[in-house]
C-alpha cells in the first residue's frame, strides 16, 4: 500500500507543532487593551492584597476606559503573558492614565516605609523567575509628592523597583499618555541587563496603608512592541 499520501499531512502537522509557539507569540504581541467593553477584562485576573479595589470599564463622552476605585483597599488586575518575551526584542510599553484622587499621605507621621506604599496609579511589568523570590519587577507610579524619575526600592523587596513617571498634581483629572522603554528603565533601575523575560503586566490603585481613597483611570495599554524604523 502506498503511503506517500501520508507524508504531506504528517509534515504539515509536524511543522505546525514546531512553529505553533512562534505563531502564538507572533499573534500575541503587541497586545493592546483599549478597555472598550466589560469583555476587555476577560483576560485579566484579579489579585487581592487587602480587600478588593473596584475595577470597571466605564463609558464616558470621550470613550470607554478602565476605572479603578480604592476604598482603603489594595488589589490589582493581572495580565499573564502566555508566551513570555525578551524585553530586548520588544522594549516598549505604552498606556494612558488619569488620576482623580491621590491617597492622603500627608496625614501620615512617618516619612517612609510600608505605610507610605500607596499610589493612586501603578503599572507593573513583571519578570518572573523559577525562584519567585528572584523575580524582578518594575512599577511605574504616579505620585504627587515624590520627584520625577525617582527610582527606589519597594519596602517589601529590593527586586521591586518603583519609578515615578508622573508627579504633577496639576495633571489631576487629565489624561496623560505614557510610552516607556522598559529595557532602558530596567537597566537604570537594576544596573544590569535583564536575564528574565517579561511574564506579566498588572494595574493597581491602592489606599490600604493610608486607609484613604484612591481613584484612577487606565486606557489603551499596549504591551510589547518596538519602534518601526
Amino acid at each position: 500500500m502506498k503511503r506517500h499520501f501520508l507524508i504531506p499531512p504528517t509534515l504539515i502537522l509536524t511543522v505546525s507543532f514546531l512553529l505553533s509557539p512562534a505563531i502564538a507569540f507572533a499573534f500575541e504581541l503587541p497586545k493592546w487593551f483599549p478597555f472598550s467593553s466589560e469583555r476587555s477584562l476577560d483576560e485579566w485576573e484579579t489579585k487581592i492584597c487587602k480587600c478588593r479595589v473596584r475595577f470597571e470599564v466605564e463609558k464616558e463622552k470621550s470613550g470607554a476606559s478602565l476605572h479603578a476605585l480604592s476604598f482603603s483597599s489594595a488589589s490589582a488586575i493581572f495580565y499573564r503573558i502566555k508566551e513570555r518575551y525578551r524585553v530586548q526584542d520588544y522594549p516598549l510599553l505604552s498606556w494612558k492614565w488619569k488620576v482623580v484622587r491621590f491617597p492622603d499621605k500627608e496625614k501620615l507621621k512617618i516619612r517612609k516605609g510600608i505605610e507610605r506604599d500607596d499610589y493612586a496609579a501603578r503599572v507593573y511589568v513583571i519578570f518572573p523567575s523559577l525562584n519567585f523570590l528572584s523575580s524582578k519587577v518594575l512599577e511605574y507610579v504616579w505620585d504627587e509628592l515624590l520627584p520625577l524619575e525617582a527610582i527606589f526600592n519597594s519596602p517589601y523587596s529590593a527586586n521591586i523597583k518603583l519609578i515615578v513617571i508622573q508627579t504633577s498634581a496639576k495633571e489631576l483629572g487629565k489624561w496623560v499618555t505614557e510610552e516607556r522603554n522598559v529595557l532602558a528603565d530596567y537597566r537604570r533601575a537594576f544596573g544590569k541587563e535583564p536575564m528574565l523575560k517579561v511574564g506579566a503586566v498588572a494595574l493597581m490603585s491602592d489606599a490600604d496603608n493610608t486607609a484613604d481613597i484612591a481613584e484612577a483611570y487606565f486606557d489603551d495599554i499596549k504591551i510589547g512592541y518596538k519602534k518601526e524604523r
Binding site: E45, K47, C49, A76, F78, D117, Y124, I126, L130, F132, L133, S135, V137, S154, Y156, S157, N159, I160, A200, A202, M204
Partner: protein, 143 residues
Amino acid sequence: MHKPNRRRRYFIKSGLQTRYLRLILTAIILPAVLFGACLYYLIFYLMAEQLGIPESIAYNITPVLGKINLILLFGLPVIAVAVLFWGLLISHRIAGPVYRLEKELDKIAKGDFSLRIKFRRKDELASVAAGINKVLDKIEGKK
C-alpha cells in the same frame, strides 16, 4: 525468673551492618528528601503564582518561608538522629542473626554436631536456624 534474651552490642560485624545501615538510610532519606524538596518548592511556587502581585508575595510568603526554614534548621538534625537510630536498630535485626549464624556454623563445621542454633522467635533467619537444627538432629540420629 527467665531473663529476656537481649543482645548487648548494637553494632556488630561492622562491614555487614554498615552496608545494611547505608541501604536503609538511603531508602528512607533519599525519597524523603526528594519528596520534601519538591513539595516545599511546589507549594511556595504555586502560592506565589496565585498571589501574583510581588508585594503580596513578599508580604505573605517571605515571612512564612522564614519560619519554615527556621523549623527545618532545628528540626532536621533531630529527625536525622532519630532516623539514624532507627536504621541502626533495623540493621541490627538483620546483621545480628547473620553474624550469630556464621559463628555457630563455624563450630558445626569443626565437628561439633551437638550444637543447636538458638535464635529469638522474632529474629530474622529464625526459620533458617530451625532448618539447620533439624538437619543436625537427623545427622545425630544416624550416628
